[in-house]
């Protein structure tokens, strides 16, 4: 990008920011101008404008708490989250990083750094290589300036300056295959990786010796006999592994708190009977190498993955006190889906608050979270501002969820279904 292009981008952004969410008005019904013509179209327009105005109030309130001129209202039939709790401290990370390839900008696989508040593109770093689309993953350290990017094979570390500009992208001398535990068969599921809050250690989770176990409600259940979490120091290269042999379903999620603990979720894969599941918190500063020795959290068992209802992702908060999980599943006698993002106490398992809950009727074809639902991708270092990806059949939207509201991240154009992207902060 030339200097002129960057200046033009900055200038346009500067002009546009004169319209801040707290200053623009919601849509309104215009005063009458012509009686006969008005009578023909004012009624439907007034109806939709009224709906839009209510949603506009929610939208504005979501951006500027306390500044909205109208009391925030929800479209009652759509959002069922409880009233917002006490205002969370505003510690929203300054940047978010999207790793994207697809038809939108940028056309080449790249990590794009944007301002969380304005959406302004601060940097676009082309990636040397991006592997299978489904394997893109990204996680950020607590300083929001060290980002781990994986493409299903290699790992890259992107470092940012205090202003969000790139300070270097390096390929780590480590591949995701290092996270796959040895086993009788090497058939494994994609490995995930998470960067520690200090940016000095990578946690890799891997499962191998996987195969079909049973069929539940017409959906095959996979099980993996060898499961492991491996930590690799990016400073010394030293590694340490916790493992266990049991039949677990693939797709355990890992995340770090700020006190040397790694949260992982698991779900047993049995041929019959109830399939146990839950969360465990692994103390990586403690002794031992048995993954099952990790502390089991008293949270409600995860829904078994039947293809129609499952936990999509779960993250432990930085202080380790709660788990934020996203789920979706069928609800109601007439079908439909519910999407929820909830915060659960890690100590008691009780619901702390509902961050987002949306019920979608089966016949509702125009809703945002239609089938695939939402996944939590990251938690801000302050423990609030969950970064969430919501996907439908045709588009992907990134936003933050806090105080019961989904607020789309600014700047990022909506991504078509053919785009592949994930984000972190």
């Amino acid at each position: 990008m030339t200097d002129l292009e960057q200046r033009l981008r900055d200038e346009l952004q500067k002009i546009s920011e004169r319209a801040d969410p707290g200053s623009i008005r919601p849509l309104r019904v215009r005063p009458a101008r012509g009686h006969r013509r008005l009578a023909r179209w004012l009624t439907p327009v007034a109806a939709v404008a009224a709906v839009l105005a209510v949603i506009g109030g929610v939208y504005l309130a979501g951006h500027t708490p306390g500044r909205a001129s109208h009391p925030p209202k929800r479209p009652s039939a759509r959002l069922t989250a409880p009233p917002p709790g006490p205002a969370a401290p505003d510690v929203m990370p300054p940047y978010y990083v999207v790793v994207q390839e697809g038809p939108g900008y940028p056309l080449v696989p790249a990590a794009v750094v944007r301002s969380s508040r304005t959406g302004k593109v601060l940097a676009s770093v082309r990636l040397p290589k991006v592997g299978p689309a489904s394997s893109l993953a990204i996680s950020a350290a607590a300083d929001d300036r060290t980002v781990l990017i994986t493409d299903g094979n290699d790992l890259f570390l992107l470092r940012l300056t205090a202003g969000g500009r790139p300070a270097g992208l390096s390929r780590l001398p480590l591949s995701l295959a290092a996270g796959v535990p040895p086993g009788p068969t090497r058939f494994s599921v994609p490995v995930s990786a998470a960067l520690s809050p200090d940016g000095r250690t990578v946690a890799l989770e891997g499962q191998s010796s996987c195969g079909p176990v049973s069929v539940s409600k017409g959906v095959g259940v996979l099980g993996c006999r060898d499961n492991a979490i491996r930590l690799v120091s990016l400073v010394t290269g030293a590694s340490r592994t916790w493992s266990m042999r049991a039949l677990w379903q693939p797709g355990i999620w890992i995340s770090w708190d700020g006190n040397d603990h790694v949260l992982f979720s698991w779900a047993a894969a049995s041929k019959s009977g109830p399939q146990a599941s839950g969360y465990r918190l692994l103390n990586v500063a403690g002794p031992g190498s048995d993954l099952l020795a990790a502390r089991r959290l008293p949270l409600a068992p995860l829904p078994v993955d039947t293809g129609a209802s499952y936990t999509q992702s779960a993250f432990v908060t930085p202080d380790g006190s709660a788990v934020v999980e996203s789920t979706f599943g069928p609800v109601g006698p007439n079908g439909g889906t519910t999407v929820s993002v909830v915060e659960l106490s890690a100590r008691t398992g009780r619901l702390v608050r509902v961050l987002l809950e949306e019920s979608i009727a089966r016949t509702d074809l125009s809703v945002l979270f239609k089938n695939e639902g939402c996944s939590v991708l990251a938690i801000g270092p302050g423990g609030v501002h969950a970064l969430v990806e919501c996907t439908t059949l045709t588009r992907t939207v990134f936003g933050r969820v806090d105080d019961g509201r989904f607020t789309r991240l600014p700047g990022l154009p909506y991504l078509g279904s053919s785009a592949t992207a994930t984000a972190a902060w």
Binding site: E5, I24, G104, P413
Partner: protein, 187 residues
């Protein structure tokens, strides 16, 4: 007979479903893109109140025209085009007003152009406003909304190759206006 008797009812059902889907879709688009579109209009016309009016008109047109949309997924492109059309109308009206203003009254101190002059004193913004309409629109869509050539082409209903050529011409014109040699700057 039963089929003939039922057809109007089915048509009415389809119409009702279309209206319901339309309202939901417009609501969704509003929630997702209202701010973005107001900002786009603001960049184009330079005055916030006018930008809000333009976007309001665009959403009203979208709601009225929803049943006629061939692809519901093209709603955003439709409303984006509608906003750009509205911005063009603002400029046309301002030009007509200037043309017919009493000569002794002096320059108008209200309206989008005045606001633009007041707000956008930057040299680059001024140069952008002096560009031909098509170049200005393409540059805004490219460098403000981050749209690619295909998306810009869809919004403005021109060929992608025209988009690329217009971007190049617009940047060159900006560089000339700013007294820079853009060609030497390009990597």
């Amino acid at each position: 007979m039963a089929g003939e008797a039922g057809e109007p009812g089915r048509r009415a059902d389809r119409a009702r479903a279309g209206r319901r889907d339309g309202a939901l879709a417009v609501t969704e688009l509003f929630r997702e893109h209202h701010l973005e579109l107001v900002r786009l209009a603001l960049v184009m016309v330079g005055d916030l109140a006018t930008a809000e009016d333009v976007v309001q008109d665009a959403f009203e047109r979208l709601h009225r025209g929803w049943p006629g949309l061939r692809q519901p997924s093209s709603g955003l492109a439709y409303v984006r085009s509608s906003v750009l059309n509205g911005c063009r109308s603002v400029h046309r009206r301002a030009a007509v007003a200037r043309k017919h203003a009493p000569r002794l009254a002096g320059p108008s101190q209200s309206g989008p152009d005045a606001a633009t002059a007041a707000e956008d004193r930057g040299e680059l913004a001024a140069a952008l406003r002096r560009l031909p309409r098509r170049q200005r629109e393409v540059l805004v869509l490219r460098y403000y909304l981050d749209l690619d050539a295909a998306e810009i082409a869809g919004t403005l209903r021109i060929a992608p190759s025209s988009v690329r050529a217009t971007v190049a011409r617009g940047l060159a014109a900006l560089a000339r206006a700013l007294g820079e040699d853009e060609a030497s700057d390009r990597s």
